[in-house]
Amino acid sequence: MSLSDDERREIEAALPHYPDRRAAAATAMRIVQRRRRWLSDEVLADLGEYLGMSVEELDSLATFANMLFRRPVGRHIVLVCDSFACWSLGYAELRAAIQTQLGVGLGETTSDGRFTLLPIVCLGACDRGPALMVDADLYGPVAPPAVGAILEAYA
């Protein structure tokens, strides 16, 4: 499973933003993850070879970063904010509504592979709490009954 031409092209386009290939590793992992949803051992090995880095070097960053996934995830990522602002504005009820709707707990993926539900601390939208994000879309404030309609839009 080597890197696709598309992936290489996009990484090459980002390389001039950094003084060397190694420094582009985080961005390269983002690029690959955007296409494959998660980073398998195989793809890290390919990336390491491509960037001149060991798998361990890449993994030391990948396992630290909360938005790089080293396990399979669903087609859409649902982030529910549990920061103290959202917590005080109804996080528990919002989270319960999402879990009921999806039938999964935090850190789990729906059986149809459509959604992965993850906790996130602060979306920088405290004035719109309780907030959630689906992929790149921010929602807030979200009343628990609105959860179904929001998630429905993501096939």
Partner: protein, 440 residues
């Protein structure tokens, strides 16, 4: 800073920005000023960093090596990682007025004779990213960025870098590691970043709002900027209010506006049925201020006198229906989860604090737990840890033990949380197990 912002809430792109006087400061600096004069103007304005620490911006810039013998390349980095819970002002600026931040960075680049800049955006800031991306394209197209900017001979590039996540990346030296694609542990200081920062080159790191303040200082002068403030600390500030108020949101006001005015006037006061109990004044790492003390002016010095910090200046309110112990537990869970594990007090101490707070919240706390928590406040105080993460975590804990003592005692004596049941606080183990970045 909000001058070019559109009333309809849409981003102000180049036409709106230029119509409101945007890039005039840059034009003036490139035509009339030496780089050191720009730094002098920022120093004279007494601008202090808006990321929370409040370091004097001009002083920071003036430690960058200048001239032909200075090491090259030099960098300017904009900290847009805004990930501390209760911080939401940089999103407001980046989404509503992205060119202002870019102009501030270009002026900083000119002042310290830098070659390139990076905007470091947090992983979840896709909307701000889209706004900055478009603003960057416009700025290049119209000659505000790139080589020979506005025919001045000064060349400067700005690149966007989106984080792969973790609160630690917002710590300036850890951010530089993150930009280099290294594990974002904080770096030891010295060397200071202006001596050896990004790729060991001289680097200025400032917060989004700090850069946003620079264009109008250069355009209108330091005295004008100082005159905007209600106190000795110059200028204006993007404040915010979140919680059970009528109109939560961000607003630009004179530095030193009182906390009461923010809550009661600009946020429309508390929602019916809710009373104000306390305020987290500027992010999770700032100490609570009690409702009786909200006449305090929101500037750096006044907030310190109130035994807290200005931090980011975005208020999160604790109302009388929300458990202060539960809120403190939630805050400490955040810090424990985000500890990088580099130094022992933080790695072990935060987990232990969470465990004790969890016991108390769940009704199985013991009176002596309060003494142990108090001891942790000392154990993880300033200068006992490698970076400021754990000392930051101790600020709300210290304040909670001081201000909400009766609530802690009531939890322990009654063996339950007296507030609404099912308040949503999680056992930390459950949260940790739910994080998918760990290898399967």
């Amino acid at each position: 800073m909000s001058r070019a912002m559109r009333p309809d809430g849409q981003p102000a792109f180049l036409d709106d920005y230029v119509a409101a006087g945007g890039y005039e400061g840059l034009g003036r600096a490139l035509r009339e000023l030496e780089p050191a004069a720009v730094t002098q103007a920022v120093s004279d304005s007494v601008l202090r960093g808006r990321g929370g620490a409040g370091y004097a911006t001009g002083r920071k810039w003036s430690t960058m090596p200048l001239g032909r013998d200075a090491p090259r390349p030099k960098y300017v980095v904009c900290n847009g990682d805004e990930m501390e819970p209760g911080s939401f002002k940089d999103r407001f600026l980046l989404e509503r007025n992205p060119h202002l931040v870019l102009e501030g960075m270009i002026l900083a680049g000119f002042a310290v004779e830098a070659d390139a800049g990076y905007v470091f955006l947090r992983a979840q800031y896709d909307q701000p990213l889209a706004c900055v991306e478009r603003a960057l394209a416009e700025a290049y197209e119209h000659g505000y960025l790139g080589s020979d900017i506005l025919g001045s001979g000064f060349s400067f590039d700005i690149y966007l870098h989106q984080s792969v996540g973790r609160y630690m990346c917002g710590e300036a030296s850890a951010m530089l590691n993150a930009l280099e694609s290294q594990r974002p542990n904080p770096r030891a200081r010295p060397p200071h970043m202006t001596g050896a920062g990004l790729y060991a080159r001289p680097t200025v790191v400032n917060n989004v709002e700090t850069f946003a303040a620079v264009p109008s200082i250069v355009r209108n002068g330091a005295d004008w900027w100082k005159s905007l403030s209600m106190t000795d600390e110059g200028g204006t500030k993007i404040y915010g209010v979140a919680g059970r108020v009528v109109r939560p949101g961000c607003v630009e006001l004179p530095m030193g506006t009182s906390m009461r005015e923010l809550i009661e006037v600009h946020a429309g006061g508390m929602q019916p049925g809710y009373e104000l109990r306390a305020v987290s004044p500027g992010g999770a790492s700032t100490a609570f201020v009690k409702a009786e003390d909200i006449d305090v002016a929101m500037d750096f010095e006044s907030m310190e006198k109130a035994l807290s910090r200005l931090g980011t200046g975005t208020l999160v309110l604790l109302d009388d229906k929300t458990c202060p112990v539960g809120m403190t537990l939630n805050l400490l869970q955040f810090f424990a989860q985000e500890s990088c594990g580099w130094c022992t007090p933080c790695r072990e101490g935060l987990q232990w604090s969470v465990s004790l707070l969890g016991d108390i919240e769940q009704g199985c706390g013991r009176p002596e737990d309060l003494d142990v928590l108090q001891e942790h406040v000392w154990l993880m105080g300033s200068d006992k840890t490698f970076c400021d993460l754990a000392p930051g975590a101790m600020q709300p804990l210290e304040a909670a033990l001081r201000l909400f003592r009766d609530d802690f005692v009531q939890h322990i004596e009654e063996g339950r949380c007296p507030y609404a049941p099912g308040d949503g606080s999680d056992a930390p183990a459950e949260e940790a197990a739910a994080r998918p970045e760990a290898t399967a």
